[in-house]
Amino acid sequence: MTGPTKPINPRGTKYDRVEFPVFEFPVVGKARYNYTTGEALGRFLAGLKEGKILGTYCNKCGRVFVPPRMYCSYCFREVDGWVEARDEGVVNTAVMSYISATRARLERPVAVGVIKLDVPGYQFDDHFFPGLMHYICGASEDDVKSMKIFGARVKARWKPPEQRTGSITDIECFEVARP
């Protein structure tokens, strides 16, 4: 039932790193991007500077958006208003990174995860919820690897007000609440 193995004689040449004349073209100058914050995230960042985590809500479908959007992308209509989330929540997922953004080994691993935030007056299931990615502090490697950290309550550790710049890094990390 089997014919010849396809593809037949696939071509291509693996080069030896030393022998091949790679042509290198560096990025010239110091090009930078200026990202606009937009309407919703602009207000969100301004809120962070004041120590508040802001979101928006849609009355039609009941969704609460953190990070906020100015429109409900599900109902395709303008959101109905703003809400303030608590700076607390539970760990939805968490990992331990042993590498940097450039894949260099880190001296000390860092925990990061998704925090499912509390919003007074609202209940959320796992299907759709207000959530932010951030560093998790006060968690050991074992806490993460054993998954004990899942469902743990965490609270934002804010930078001092004078050091805040209106950035997601105005929160240093979400700290595990110890009973």
Binding site: P10, R69, V95, S97, Y98, T102, F128, G131, M133, M147
Partner: protein, 395 residues
Amino acid sequence: MTSRNINFKHRVAVVSAGMTLFRSRMLETPQELAWLAAKQALDEAGLTLKDIDCVVIGSAPDAFDGVHMKGEYLAEGAGGIHKPTIRVFVGGATGVFVPIAAWWHVASGLCKKVLVVAEEKMSHAAKPHTQYVFRYIWDPIVEKPLNPNLIWIFAMEMHRYMYKCGVKKEDIALVSVKNKRNACGHPSAQLCMPNITVDDVLKSEVLVWPVQLLDISPTSDGAVALVLASEEEARRITDTPVWIKGVGWTLDTTHWTNRDLAYPEYVRRAAEMAYRMAGIDNPRKQIDVAEPYDPFDYKELHHMEGLGLARKCEAPVLTREGVTQRDGDLPINPSGGLLGVGNPIAAAGLMKVAEIFWQIRGEAGARQVKKPVYTGLAQAWGDLMQAGTVIVMGI
């Protein structure tokens, strides 16, 4: 009964396929790789470029090549000069989106014979590491300032899946072992590890727990090409055309921190569309072989569940029981997948479609699954757990 409420004018067949070697650091330029694969596909169909009406090109992230307007750049090697030529790209989902786009060119009656080419070179952007260019995938306002590594997001998804389904790392490593062994039968494969064990995976370098080095596919360069034709043309070209029975594609929101990562909704919706078109209402029974997207080992499990080939949290059980082995009841990634054959992103997705073509024609040689193959499926996924593409093929 499943309703078939999607209308198209012409049945569409795959009539030939070509594929380069998959390797890290290939000498050939992207254009040269595209040409090698395209020429092979044309030769196999007994066609020349003159016979081709339209060209559809796939390549995923521009940042890898350091070339903007990659479609225009690649068109030359892909046979796109002086023809209606289009590039499609939805991140990693691109490889299966290319034949979908080519399908609608033919199904609509616009073109009769279409050349389909997917190419990727990951090794261009290897300084300081391929990972570095992935920083542009993150949200610039709320994520990038945290200096993320791309693997974070997959580790978060994998860990959530493990937590929700109670899956052990040992069970997930079985996928990597299976696929890296399967790849030994593939003439283009970058990896062939006939003796790899679960222990090897569990002892490999920890990158972002729970993701370790051998949980991930290698970085690769390569190209794959197909020729698609309308029914009338297909019957002239070959006695054994393979029909595209259903296609599906969807996008989910990039706000991935707002949803449960344990289940791939983007795959479920794409699969439902493809199944409705193909008249499939019980995929577990009606699909004979599948090539779900496996750049990470847990992704094969995740995607099997999204495709309805396993119930939620059941894929690890099927894997442990050997159901997904090449000689099993539901062979999954008999090619070796991305984990074995390699991961030149868009080309890796199209490699899966080519594999289903070869499996249905009985031309997969050492990779040929033991049971008869009437219907097969290929699937790819891309970006921040967001883009899903599915194609169902059959005799």
